[in-house]
Subunit: 216 residues, 2 copies
């Protein structure tokens, strides 16, 4: 990195961010991973508590545990997804499923896996407690993904390895008081970043009351 | 906006993002708000479902309902926070509390309030369902906050007006199947953006297992 890749224009980073699941096994410098996390730490947290923890997984034995958890969940969800995609003839979904399958098959080869965690008890009621907790970790995850995109490092946001919070905690040596929330496999991409497509903004924006869509 | 403010370097936007709660009552162009949401929509969602809804609140009657909900929650949490901050002599927390108090007192004057919602049922078990749902809305919220920072528009991420999901849904005309997750009051700032401080990255990063901190 001769130049600073993180000076990429904000809108370019956002417009070309996509999940990159097919990764090369080549190593990624610790300094680069730490830089991504440093930028992640600039995101807001509730009451500025900064109550996050990031586990950087490079050890083969820990990776194997996460890979196993990922495959257990994918064996269930992937089968359902594949049937739905076939039924609906949904080509986009079929492409996603192929990429997730590739990721499941090659999980052990991913050079670095970051697990973003939150140090807080997340009660199931009231819902404001859950949204406040997750709202203190996912903004940082998005910073990390945008920074990865700027550095041309492949990344994706997944949750399948966390289907059992307890088993994920055990794999990572986490106490029960720290909840793993998101998993981000990182590596140099086989594919490349590029523009994404989205529904028009007017279709998902209401003015004042849900369903009033003057911008559509 | 003669130039494109969203071409701000990614790292500059991240390093200078902070919650701006004291806002001027001056109007904000709909086109600018829609542009922020357009960039928000570039964030990832689980299975690329794009199952989000954004309510842009400008109507005084709807704002008043959100303001009331916000004050109800703040009357409880704010009192607790103030006592803790006094007890600990925590000056940073006292400053945050004063800003949140200002926001509660002037909520009706905020020109635009965006409420980010997710169209999905969020069961309370297993936890992976919750993290997957919130992981499909908070990355977009962070894009919106970064875009607001680039445009020099004041913004903050709050959840207090959602202390009762049901009352928030009623205020916004939302069906029970759409969960409001985050509230972002937007307006031209009285204060200004600037560098933030954070704990060093090595203190929140573990390698392979929680608590192994070679980067500290």
């Amino acid at each position: 990195m001769a130049d600073n890749p993180f000076s990429m224009p904000l809108d370019e980073a956002m417009m070309t961010q996509r999940a990159i699941r097919r990764l090369l096994p080549d190593p990624v410098d610790d300094a680069l991973v730490l830089k991504l996390i440093e930028l992640a730490l600039r995101a807001p947290t509730g009451s500025n508590a900064q109550n996050w923890e990031f586990i950087v997984v490079k050890d083969a034995a820990v990776k194997a545990k996460l890979a196993k958890l990922n495959r257990q969940a994918w064996n269930v969800y992937g089968g359902i997804g594949r049937r739905l995609a076939e039924r609906d003839g949904d080509e986009t979904m079929k492409r996603i499923i192929k990429a997730v399958q590739w990721q499941a098959d090659h999980f052990e080869e991913v050079p670095v896996i970051v697990v973003a965690c939150i140090k807080t008890f997340i009660p199931w009621f009231p819902p404001i407690a859950a949204t406040s907790a997750y709202g203190s970790i996912y903004p940082s995850v998005q910073n990390l993904l945008l920074a990865a995109r700027a550095a041309n490092l492949g990344a994706a946001l997944i949750t399948l390895p966390l289907w059992s919070r307890f088993r994920a905690q055990r794999a990572l040596g986490l106490p029960l008081s720290i909840a793993p929330c998101a998993v981000i496999p990182l590596g140099w991409p086989k594919g490349k970043y590029g523009p994404t497509t989205r529904r028009p903004v007017g279709e998902v924006v209401s003015l004042d009351r849900y369903g009033h869509r003057p911008f559509a």
